[in-house]
């Protein structure tokens, strides 16, 4: 990789300042960024590690009952510490990458990157989470703006992600056999006021909500409710691991399985 200046601030304020430099970039767990930099596809002048900011690490529950996860919290910590409050989220975190990746990779890093096959975007969008940054709160519905595109401004840091806890939820991941990312991943969350269905891995526009399924499941939360539906095939990714039609089919199958597993 190209060389760069390395900075490791210990507070959000210091991190914001460090990221103000020209061509500075934030480093979460680095599980995607570092391989990208090895390929010389990214060349920050300064890399600002967020791994030393203790206020950004950890899992807690706020007064509104939301599960709040610090932006620099590794997946393994979420898998362990969110288990009691939000088991579907913990289970999702526990299937990202592999154990060694989960030790380093962070929720903030994953959401900031918004890989179209990543798991966390499905959880955030499916839960209607709030992405809290050093300057503002962003609703998940406004945050994801297409493959690798988010509402984050230059230098803006995800400090925390707040997840409302649904009555029932489940994530079904059908893995791409090589990368083990999601070929299709579907997060289904049933709240008192309706059901949210978020799909990752499938669309060339990145994570999306499957509105038709949400309507059907809000009326009848059962596997049967989605059986007559067809996922929108138009924007689906087609690659050597599966055609758009196959992905569209999997979206329906995984949605049904998530509903069944959510109970």
């Amino acid at each position: 990789m190209y060389n760069f200046e390395f900075a490791k601030p210990s507070s959000i304020a210091e991190a914001v300042e460090a990221l103000g430099h020209d061509e500075a970039q934030a480093l979460g767990g680095g599980q995607t960024l570092l391989p990208t930099m090895k390929q010389r596809l990214a060349a920050p002048a300064t890399l600002v590690s967020l791994n030393g900011i203790s206020e950004m690490i950890g899992v807690c529950v706020n007064d509104a009952g939301e599960v709040c996860i610090g932006g620099a919290t590794p997946h393994a910590t979420v898998a362990r510490e969110a288990q009691a409050q939000y088991p579907a989220l913990a289970a999702l975190a526990n299937r990202i990458g592999d154990p060694a990746v989960r030790s380093r990779g962070t929720i903030g890093g994953s959401l900031a990157n918004n890989d179209p096959s990543a798991c966390y975007p499905a959880a955030a969008l499916g839960s209607g989470a709030t992405i809290k940054t050093n300057t503002r709160d962003i609703a998940a519905d406004d945050y994801f703006q297409g493959m690798f595109e988010t509402a984050l401004e230059e230098g803006e840091i995800i400090t925390e992600v707040r997840f409302p806890v649904p009555e029932k939820a489940n994530y079904q991941k059908f893995v791409q056999p090589a990368s083990r990312f999601a070929l299709v991943g579907v997060f289904v969350a049933k709240f008192a006021d309706g059901v949210r269905v978020a799909v990752t891995g499938a669309s060339s526009n990145g994570v999306f909500r499957w509105a038709e399924a949400e309507a059907a499941l809000s009326a009848d939360f059962s596997k049967a409710a989605v059986e007559g539906l067809s996922a929108p095939a138009g924007d689906m990714i087609s690659d050597l691991h599966g055609s758009g039609d196959y992905r569209a089919h999997l979206v329906k199958v995984m949605t049904g399985r998530a509903v069944a597993a959510a109970g």
Binding site: F174, S179, V253
Partner: protein, 787 residues
């Protein structure tokens, strides 16, 4: 026969101590004083004309020592091909040059164009980015059928097309036509044997070194056969005589064929080290490996089986297109021909077999041997075909095979080889004991209740390995001999060092070879040390591949040890004042038959080196012998394999529920190691069947260019295997009676998996699915079901 030491014992591997504690010494662990690093600028287009290379800016970059281009290698030979195939008209194959660095044209993504040598690897890479290439992209030739069509772009302008050779083998047209004209039933199958990337976990590394004082070059390299590299690189590429060239392959992290070949990077590092008078190192990244390590397989075949009304096999006819890639790698031409065509009779007494192969150049990475090499392709075609035939005529697939088994040995096939021994019913019987075939219906029913489709696939295989008789392969076009060598050096105090031309890169030779020698003398295994991997201290050998190390290298070691024992008996006879013919060696003691006189092994070895009381008028002092062994036939391991799968009909995902392998490897030296070899082969075969695929787009861009897109089998893709090698028909022509076990797993397993999936779908009501091309990814299985 279970035993706790010597031949037949599962001795623990001595090499494990260093590997388990981080003390292995792999090529990338070697760093020499004053070492520089090379980064190769490689083609990012599949086919193009080089109109200019401007290195002026790059030369100014920090740390740059020298930048080499194809022009620097104009006085140097190209990368040679080690095998010449003669086509059906008797003409030699087309053999275009393969320069170390591209000259004039680039012919595949990854073709090296420029080598930038700098003080650090990062500097070399940065400078390579500053090289300005003027490459005119040309239409790429990727698809083999299109490559052979009129008007196709040509990979090599100097050739009359993209055909390397058009080869025919086996029965003549009259015999094969007669077989098919008599047929009551003909089964036809078209299939693809998918292109694979070998992916030894250790990426390739080369370190070139040069001593101006002695004019000696040394190459440290990740090789399965250091002597072969010394011969090819010294004699054909760089013109360095062998006594001035040393090749060292230290601990090597797996090969599977991919580290047999002489690669351009090895020649480059050796050449540049001499030019620059300092060591030059290259370490491949995995991404680079995908575009520079030889690939494997990549055949497209139409195969037909003719049967009479009683389901006796009458004839087999094949038409195959075999991808050579852009250049001929070291053994590439032999794979689809002599390592493939010779196996097309399989385990069956089919009287007429004809194999037709067209080898084709394309703008892709060169293709060469990968675990099994030609034999997996042959087995896959034949065993898929028989399964399809059984279904078409309503025969039991096991019964149909048994009915047509060869049962009399030796057996000369219509495809030029003579099987010395075997018992195919015995391995099939053993397999059926292992898999509970009768219980399958109940398991299938349980799967059905869980919403899954269960299938069972069974097949046989035979392979020709222990390669090979030099005289035979010489007639067939090999440009090298395929003997093996060993030097056994006995030290004064009785310990032995065995120097072998074989090379161990996972096979455990340091353990199993020591078992053989210790067993012959009757001494503890820890008195025998095995040395391999350095041309300076081992006799000329051809290396390790083709399941040959024990059958050929082990036989050389036996011959050398026999010479040692014969001489030691002479010394013992002298010491005991007895007749040489009366001396017996047992448990490390020499005794005189019929008396209580004996001397210990150590007394004799000491006498050899301190010859105070010694028959100097009859024999020389010292105790060191060398033997070269050239087999007089291939060996023919065989077996029967079974795979049970579950298919998820909603997603097309296949899960392997069980896999059983019953092999006949002849005699076994270390059962633990043999089982391990089979396990690894099975994983690679199951990987080929379900996961792995090298994919190019129509422009020759590699789509499966990293582990993000090339699916390697992982622990959760695979089950525990059942393996058995208790069915033994010893090889009749080597002194150990061994056949070789390294490739069987990868040869026999792909058809078992595909047979099982097709069985599952047929049973599940998908009668239209009679074949799916590998890899059987969820998407492909789902498409086949819904197609």
């Amino acid at each position: 026969m279970p035993t706790d030491h010597g031949i037949g014992a599962s001795s623990k591997r001595r090499e494990d101590l260093r590997f388990l504690t981080g003390r292995g010494r792999y090529t990338d662990d070697i760093n020499l004083q004053g070492q520089a690093f090379v980064h190769f600028l490689r083609s990012d287009v599949a086919h193009g004309r080089i109109n200019g290379i401007d290195t002026s800016e790059a030369e100014k970059m920090p740390g740059v020592i020298r930048i080499f281009t194809g022009a620097d290698f104009e006085g140097v030979g190209g990368i040679p091909c080690g095998w010449q195939v003669t086509d059906r008209e008797g003409n030699p194959m087309r053999e275009p040059p393969h320069p170390v660095l591209a000259q004039g044209k680039v012919r595949h993504v990854g073709d090296p164009i420029v080598g930038v040598v700098a003080e650090t690897a990062a500097q070399a890479r940065s400078a390579a980015e500053a090289v300005v290439l003027d490459i005119e992209e040309l239409p790429a030739v990727v698809d083999m059928r299109k490559a052979l069509a009129d008007g196709s772009a040509k990979v090599h302008d100097e050739l009359d097309g993209n055909l390397c050779y058009d080869w025919v083998f086996g029965s003549d047209d009259a015999a094969i036509d007669e077989a098919f004209s008599k047929a009551a039933h003909v089964t036809t199958l078209e299939l693809t044997n998918n292109r694979l990337s070998p992916n030894a976990m250790e990426p390739r590394v080369a370190v070139g070194d040069y001593s101006w004082a002695s004019d000696e070059s040394t190459l440290y390299t990740t090789s399965q056969n250091p002597h072969v590299i010394r011969l090819l690189m010294g004699a054909f590429v760089l013109g360095i005589p062998e006594h001035k060239l040393r090749v060292i392959a230290p601990d090597v992290g797996g090969g599977f064929g991919s580290k047999i070949y002489h690669y351009a990077e090895e020649a480059f590092c050796t050449f540049a080290a001499k030019q620059l008078r300092r060591p030059v190192k290259w370490t491949s990244t995995r991404s680079e490996a995908f575009i520079s390590d030889a690939h494997g397989r990549d055949h497209i075949t139409t195969i037909q089986l003719a049967m009479d009304a009683e389901n006796n096999f009458l004839g087999v006819r094949t038409d195959t297109l075999a991808n050579m890639g852009a250049y001929l790698s070291t053994f590439a031409p032999s794979i689809p021909t002599y390592l493939h065509g010779t196996l097309m009779a399989g385990n069956y007494k089919t009287p007429a077999v004809q194999v037709n192969v067209k080898a084709v150049f394309t703008n892709t990475v060169p293709v060469d041997a990968y675990r099994g090499a030609g034999r997996p392709e042959a087995t896959y075609q034949l065993e898929r075909l028989i399964d399809k035939a059984a279904r078409e005529v309503g025969a039991d697939p096991v019964a149909l095979r048994r009915q047509n088994f060869i049962t009399q040995f030796p057996y000369a096939t219509p495809v030029a080889v003579e099987y010395d021994t075997g018992d195919y019913n015995a391995t099939m019987d053993k397999l059926l004991e292992m898999i509970d075939r009768d219980g399958f219906e109940a398991r299938a029913e349980a799967s059905r209740k869980a919403g899954k489709l269960r299938g069972l696939g069974i097949n046989c295989y035979i392979e020709a390995c222990g390669i090979a008789p030099s005289a035979l392969v010489g007639q067939l076009g090999a440009r090298a001999g395929l003997y093996e060598s060993a030097t056994v050096r006995v030290n004064a105090t009785g310990g032995l060092v065995v120097m072998t031309g074989s090379h161990s890169h996972g096979q455990g030779h340091e353990t199993s070879f020591a078992q053989v020698v210790a067993d012959m003398i009757g001494i503890p295994e820890n008195m025998v040390e095995i040395v391999h991997g350095d041309t300076a201290n081992t006799p000329m050998g051809m290396g390790t591949y083709g399941s040959r190390s024990l059958a050929v290298g082990g036989s050389a070691m036996v011959r050398a040890t026999e010479k040692i024992i014969a001489k030691a008996k002479k010394i013992a006879a002298h010491l005991m004042e007895a007749s040489e013919g009366d001396i017996e060696l047992k448990d490390g003691q020499f005794s005189v038959a019929g008396t209580d006189k004996s001397v210990a092994w150590g007394d004799v070895t000491l006498a050899a080196y301190v010859p105070h009381n010694y028959p100097l008028d009859e024999i020389e002092p010292g105790l060191e012998e060398t033997a070269f062994y050239d087999p007089n036939n291939f060996t023919y391991p065989s077996g029967a394999y079974a795979c049970e799968v579950e298919v998820d009909p909603e997603t097309g995902k296949v899960q392997v529920m069980g896999f059983a392998a019953a092999d006949d490897f002849g005699n076994i030296v270390n059962p633990m190691i043999v089982s391990g070899q089979v396990h690894g082969g099975l994983a690679q075969g199951i990987g080929q069947a379900l996961l792995e695929n090298v994919a190019y787009d129509e422009n020759g861009q590699l789509l499966s260019a990293s582990y993000m897109d090339y699916a390697m089998p992982r622990a959760d893709d695979l089950p525990f295997y059942k393996v058995d090698h208790s069915s033994v028909t010893p090889c009749t022509h080597n002194p150990l009676g061994v056949k070789g076990c390294g490739e069987a797993g990868a040869i026999g397993s792909p058809p078992a998996v595909v047979n099982a999936v097709v069985d599952a779908l047929q049973r599940g009501g998908y009668a239209h699915v009679t074949h799916i091309d590998m890899p059987l990814t969820p998407a492909r299985v789902w498409s086949a079901m819904n197609g």
